[in-house]
């Protein structure tokens, strides 16, 4: 048990080779640097392979893990930014610390309620069908559709406010 069985290892390696580059690139759009993207992608594969047996859709599980890890990273970064602001008694953190061009939309997604954010990321960004997201999150398809609608409405309203 301490070692992945040969067939499982081969299957895991195939999945790794096929999925890692896109998963890491997917994460990269949501974090600030390549190193963090690699850390999250590697951790997602580690957790997947640590419970390899029995998964009928490891690809979806992989993206679920990555979504959770990105969320944890956002929380950690938020805490650090708040700590820096407190220490320096300065105005809001320097936006220049976000080099990515996606920062505005990304920050708004980060601010979505967890229920809406997971569905939004997995469907619109991860490319999973509503039915797949429904199975991944354990919520009815109708609820997922409503969550996606509300998420987009909130993003749209937030962007409109930002433009004013």
């Amino acid at each position: 048990m301490a070692r992945l069985r040969t067939a499982d290892r081969a299957a895991a390696e195939d999945l790794f080779n096929a999925s890692y580059p896109r998963l890491a690139g997917w994460v990269r759009r949501l974090v600030d640097d390549d190193e963090t993207a690699h850390e999250i992608a590697s951790e997602a594969f580690t957790r997947l392979m640590a419970r390899w047996s029995g998964l009928d859709n490891p690809h979806s599980y992989l993206y679920m893990i990555a979504t959770n890890l990105v969320r944890d990273h956002w929380r950690k970064m938020g805490r650090e930014r708040r700590a820096i602001r407190t220490m320096t008694a300065a105005a809001p953190a320097d936006p220049a610390c976000y080099p990515a061009q996606d920062v505005d939309v990304r920050a708004l997604i980060e601010a979505l309620p967890a229920r809406l954010r997971s569905a939004f990321l997995l469907h619109y960004y991860g490319g999973f069908a509503v039915r797949e997201v429904s199975a991944m999150l354990g919520r009815p398809e109708g609820t997922i559709k409503a969550d996606l609608h509300h998420a987009r409405a909130r993003l749209k309203a937030a962007l409109e406010n930002a433009d004013e």
Partner: protein
Amino acid sequence: MNSPRDEIGSWLDADVQPLPPPPGTFERVSRRARRRKVSRAILAGAGAAVIVTGLAVSPKIASALLNRPAGQGQSSVAAGSTSQAITRPPEPHNNGTPAAKSASHQPGAPASLSGTGSGDPVPGNFRPTSVTFVGPTIGAVIGQAGTPGDCAGGPYCTSLAGTADYGKSWFGVSAPATGAPNGSSGVSQLRFLNTDQGFAFGPELWTTANGGAQWSRTPLPAGVRVTDLETLDGQVFALWARCAGRGPDFASDCTSFSLHTAQVGGPWRRVGGAVSLTAGGTATSASLILVGGTAPVPADATGYVLAPDRRVLSGKLSDSAWTTAGTAPCAPGAARPDGQPSGGLLAAGSGELFLLCTDATTGTQASPQSAGSQVLYASADGGKTWQRLPAVPDLGTPASLAAGAGGLVVVATSEGIEVSRDGGASWRVTLPAAQGPAGGFSYVGMTNTSHGVAVPAHSGLDEIWFSTNGGRSWQPSPVAGDG
């Protein structure tokens, strides 16, 4: 200036640029995964040691559950219930439909929940959807296993696995001859009253009187589905609903609920005062809990229903009709795939009811909640009045609530498990997302104040999570049993 829609759309439409792994990444990931598997095995071993210790100090309880002849009134504790139940000897069902075999059930082998050590293997690729426990060590899970469309040579992949050592090991148990939930057909949930009397439901209703060796389908009126069911004191109560949900969402689009009950082996009847429960035409859900009476007054066993219109109905189990006790602070809201509410999660502790109102009630007719908020309420008078508690669990989206004696309240969420030991006044994360299954849990139940079980939300995981220390720590148990 781009329009907001363009900005969101262009962000979503932008291609993901693949990021190749640095050299040696797969080998590094493989090593880390192996180390974690070993760590999990060690933790599971430690958990087993705790269970053995528990048996050593309570041998009378263990021997009674394991050795009592089938059907001789045993204590029963459904996961999620806090009560003990004494049952009458069951009436044997001579007209039972031959049970479907679990995906790899061995013909001729005993296939009973009480058939400890029968030798039946657990079907492979087991995807559990519901768990129930009969006492502190004996329990069963139901789910789908094997290869869809070709399970044990047949079309049905619904399977059961039992355990007699609180998840340390599992054995195969025969299952109802039906499939996964698909509109009005199939089953996904499981309750056992004792080691013999069992119920598989959601949306169909099946019963067994011999620990799963044989299952019989209970005919339901046209258009009716069973969305919730609990057992106590030799009785079974179930919510029958009229729903239009398709596919796996059997409990969605339900518009009317009625409470039904039956004595062990007896016919079903409607419970007066708890029929035609609706939310004014809006699709909704409802939930049911049963609470055992106190030791000197076992007849005080009481049931509660959170109705679609926020009413809390209650009644003694022996009452022919239930009455409205009060109005809950939030509606149950839309149903989750397992039939349970997503908006108002109800649980019973010792002398208190708890109701966690989540942001999923947003947009429902009767909810005052705003998106992103969740509020915990307690009622010490059986649902007549509710007090808002100052603290709430804040770890992800709540999915299931359980409570026990001594102020124990447990919530399972999309990210992990949080526990309160002071009646909801303060909370502690005992299973953070980093240590639990991705996607969190769909269900948590406490069989007593120390033993708890939780079902992962992700349907592809073949494991149930267990706690033997009042929810302070949790360990997974692979139902497939291969570690």
